[in-house]
């Protein structure tokens, strides 16, 4: 009983920091619609800066000053980031901003390493709160009691701020309709900067408050960001009360999970989140979100299948790629095979994300399931490689069928989070079910059959599997089913009103995408000769998102280009520099700013502008304007669009 009490108090104390971080995340998302992936990085920075400052400023006053100053300094950094980076990309699709903040996270990870070194740092105890208080015969650290009291105080403070001050009401109004707020005479630029600063301040304070309890380390950011996402989603996006309740719930689950259910302690939180989302899709305290300004993948440029000429070009590209073993060395071929595999992975995610409008944050789970499926077939049944490559995706398909069934009842950020939760569950199973999966040691010795043992042969095999799979995905996009999928993405209301079963269509797309990813995973297992749980961890899922967004989410060929560029860049950087994350992060950020529509999307825009300029003079612009804005008087013949208009506006 006493142990239970101690764990309970520890859980409550941990909840304080988590609540600060999660409420900041929620507030920022509410107003700016940015899913701030860098929030964990700010938390970590808050802790590191506080460590340095507490070193300088000692004594009771110095310590508390250092914590607040650390949070303020990081908040200023956050404001600068908002002003220099985010302001440029508010108009971009929602997930694109996630990509930018992900780039920032990568950069911060290496910067922290550069400034503070790789060792864990232990901060000072809080002056005056270093001792413990005896409650029910157990000694509870005074600092924990302080944190337990702090949580409700911050909650009350935020409530007063948002309901009793004009600034708070403006923030809530901006959450609902940003441009309307500007039309009422409010400078929304500074409102956004202020909100971002407040959110970052809360995160950094959360980090700074942790230093008397835990060592400061550079794994802090990813751990907290995942937990904060979970808290925000369980509590309901935009609800600070929800974040508070969910932070306590999650912290208690963490505290007691180890005690009661050690076998599934890692899964427990995600399991609860999955249950909450299935039962209450918008979280415990959330309300149905307003429809997104533009759903992802919504292209104004209607898609067209490849024209015969373009098919010839594609075939020539494949032929050229097939000739690569003639001039590439062993290592380069292995890299090339890996890139091909990730092209398939990105293309499978693209089907779900661009065509279906469903951005999965846990797509790596099906990649990993495919890999483990193949490994089981080899290890348990002793079947040859080709049979394993064929069978592996079946496990992925099964997983996708189960997860997809639940996930497609949600959309937007909630869909993203539920898929993330399920992927964490799958990862935890692989990690903790040591008897079957080997746990952290993975499954080793998955070597290709003799005929594909050389890097060149395996490259050809990969190409021979990936190419038809890509062609098939492309065909699906332009099949009647692909139209149904785009239809439910564009307008669920209209789709249901013309007899389309949204859930069914999206579920099938989920299974197709999962199966294709699983095929990539099966190839990956044989490429590496082994398989570890990390392959289905969050970073792989994020890589997939980055590839699709980088290539251009509104385009058909984007994922292929995005995967090649991203994967090649990442692998090249690792070989060139110790600070590959810093460079990669900077490159991602730069690409987001320079190519807000992704590489392929930007290229298509350039081509359009070129054809428009070549096609006709100023009269062209006017002709298309008439077609867009004004209608012919009823009763007269509609003017036939000029050839230039057709060329300029409707070509893919």
């Amino acid at each position: 009983m006493q142990l239970v009490f101690v764990q309970f108090m520890t859980g409550l104390a941990s909840a304080a920091s988590l609540f600060l971080v999660a409420s900041g995340l929620s507030i920022i998302f509410g107003v700016t619609r940015i899913v701030n992936f860098a929030h964990g990085a700010f938390y970590m920075l808050g802790a590191y800066v506080a460590y340095t400052l507490t070193d300088r400023f000692t004594g009771a006053f110095g310590f508390w000053f250092a914590l607040l100053a650390a949070a303020a300094i990081v908040a200023i950094v956050g404001c600068l980031l908002e002003m220099t980076l985010l302001r440029r990309i508010y108009q971009a699709p929602e997930l694109f901003q996630l990509l930018a903040t992900f780039g920032v996270t990568l950069m911060v990870q290496d910067l922290v390493l550069l400034i503070w070194g790789p060792e864990d740092l232990v901060g000072p105890r809080a002056p005056g709160l270093a001792g413990a208080v005896e409650i029910f015969g157990k000694r509870i650290p005074s600092y924990d009691l302080f944190l337990i009291a702090l949580g409700p105080l911050v909650l009350a403070g935020l409530w007063l701020l948002f309901h009793r001050t004009r600034w708070g009401v403006l923030v809530r109004a901006a959450t609902l309709d940003r441009s309307m707020v500007a039309a009422l005479g409010i400078n929304q630029k500074w409102l956004f900067t202020g909100v971002f600063g407040l959110g970052v301040f809360l995160a950094a304070l959360g980090g700074a408050l942790q230093i008397p309890r835990d060592a400061v380390n550079h794994g802090m950011d990813l751990r907290i960001i995942v937990e904060a996402f979970v808290v925000v989603v369980i509590g309901g996006l935009g609800s600070t009360t929800g974040a508070f309740v969910a932070a306590i719930l999650v912290s208690q689950l963490n505290a007691f999970g180890i005690l009661v259910l050690p076998k599934i302690s890692l899964v427990l939180v995600f399991l609860v989140m999955a249950v909450v989302l299935v039962v209450r899709p918008w979280g415990l305290f959330g309300t149905r979100p307003p429809p997104a300004q533009a759903s992802i993948g919504m292209a104004v440029r209607p898609w067209r299948p490849l024209a015969p000429g373009e098919i010839a070009v594609a075939a020539a590209v494949v032929a050229a790629v097939a000739l690569m073993p003639l001039w590439l060395g062993h290592y380069a071929l292995t890299v090339a095979s890996e890139i091909l595999i990730f092209v398939l992975f990105a293309a499978s995610l693209h089907l779900l994300m661009s065509v279906g409008g469903l951005a999965s944050f846990g797509h790596a789970a099906y990649f990993g399931l495919g890999a483990y499926g193949a490994a089981f077939v080899v290890k348990a049944a002793g079947l040859p490689m080709l049979a394993a490559i064929a069978a592996g995706p079946l496990l992925a398909a099964l997983g996708a069928a189960v997860v997809g069934w639940f996930a497609v009842s949600l959309s937007g950020v909630y869909f993203a989070m539920l898929t993330l939760a399920f992927s964490q569950i799958v990862w935890s199973i692989a990690f903790q079910w040591v008897d079957v999966t080997g746990g952290d040691n993975g499954i080793l010795g998955l070597w290709p059959d003799a005929f594909a043992a050389s890097p060149a042969a395996f490259f050809w095999l990969t190409l021979a599997v990936v190419t038809p799979a890509l062609v098939w995905l492309h065909m699906v996009i332009f099949s009647p089913f692909g139209y149904a999928l785009r239809a439910v993405r564009d307008s669920e209301l209209r789709a249901e009103a013309i007899g389309i079963d949204r859930r069914r269509v999206q579920w099938i797309a989920f299974v197709i995408a999962g199966t294709a990813a699983g095929l990539g995973g099966a190839l990956f297992a044989f490429l590496k000769g082994s398989i570890f749980p990390d392959v289905m961890a969050i970073p792989t899922s994020v890589d997939g998102l980055v590839m699709v967004l980088l290539g251009g989410v509104e385009t058909v060929l984007g994922p292929i280009v995005g995967a090649v560029v991203f994967k090649a860049l990442a692998m090249w950087l690792i070989s060139q520099t110790d600070y590959s994350k810093l460079v990669l992060g900077a490159v991602v950020v730069a690409l987001v700013v320079a190519f807000p529509k992704g590489i392929v999307g930007t290229l298509a825009d350039w081509r359009d502008r070129l054809t428009a300029r070549r096609g006709a003079g100023p009269s062209d612009a006017e002709a298309s304007a008439d077609a867009t804005a004004a209608e012919p008087p009823a009763g007269t013949m509609a003017p036939a669009p000029s050839p230039a208009t057709v060329a300029g506006r409707t070509r893919p």
Binding site: S479, P480, Y483, L493, I498, G499, A634, G635, V646, T650
Partner: protein
């Protein structure tokens, strides 16, 4: 012979607040029925129950003798109900023609196919429907860039794709210019009478209502307070008090529209 639409005792409340209170009405083939009433009278709720978006608490809906109460929208559609929305709902990333093609493919049960190109399916039929609503010249444009009035016409073409028996139109002419309103409703009426389609529509523009409705029903606070031919309903003092007002903002215009319709030449249907 059974009526095309037969609604009995339809009721719905939200959190204890009655939105629609035991409303009964019917509609015949080829008939055009207008549902009017103040904002918040329960018209939208009624509409959404008819096409299955909202499950009624009580009552029964029969379409052509078939009970469709509580069926989801996609099932109601398969029973022959086409619908247009107050705020248009189209597939913005597709071309105008593709919007109609998707509806045709759905009607033909082809949307489950993973193979074969979709953009060649039902092209001619789609073009025929687009010509019918005067949108043939816009077939290759993206729906996202259409002007509002054109979106309304596209919605009508989509709603006609399953050869419906019943058309539900929620404020079909909202946001349109006066002559466009007359044009769209005249077109609808023509199609409805030619094919024997029943039309139920809500509308705030009394010119459109008085011009095109065969019959009117008036909802207020979820209750059916008046029903009958436009001339009768128009004179009803209760309807005047709660909805029509002094007649300052429609009467004169209505007279003009009438005169205009009977004398002036150009017909919107000629566009195609």
């Amino acid at each position: 012979m059974t009526r095309l639409l037969d609604v009995e005792n339809l009721a719905k409340s939200y959190a204890g607040l009655a939105a629609v209170r035991h409303v009964s009405f019917g509609l015949d083939r080829g008939e055009i029925l207008a549902m009017i009433g103040p904002n918040g009278a329960g018209k939208s709720t009624c509409f959404n129950m008819l096409n299955g978006q909202i499950r009624p608490d009580a009552g029964r809906i029969r379409i052509d003798g078939v009970d469709t109460t509580s069926l989801p929208p996609r099932a109601v559609w398969r029973k022959g109900v086409g619908r247009t929305f107050q705020i248009t709902a189209t597939f913005g990333s597709m071309t105008v023609r593709e919007n109609v093609q998707v509806a045709l493919m759905s009607h033909g049960g082809a949307l489950g196919r993973w193979f074969g190109r979709a953009d060649t399916r039902g092209r001619d039929e789609a073009d025929r429907l687009l010509a019918l609503v005067g949108m043939a010249a816009d077939a290759d444009r993206a729906a996202a860039e259409l002007a509002y009035g054109d979106l309304k016409r596209l919605e009508l073409a989509v709603a006609l794709a399953n050869r419906p028996k019943l058309l539900l139109m929620d404020e079909p002419t909202a946001g349109m210019a006066p002559r466009e309103r007359v044009g769209l409703m005249r077109l609808t009426a023509e199609i409805a009478r030619a094919e024997g389609i029943g039309v139920l529509f809500t509308e705030h523009d009394m010119d459109v209502v008085f011009e095109h409705a065969d019959r009117m029903m008036v909802l207020s606070r979820g209750l059916l307070i008046a029903e009958g031919p436009p001339e009768t309903v128009r004179r009803d003092p209760e309807v005047r008090a709660i909805y029509l007002g002094e007649g300052l903002v429609y009467d004169a215009r209505h007279q003009e529209a009438r005169a205009d319709a009977s004398t002036s030449g150009p017909q919107p249907e000629a566009r195609a």
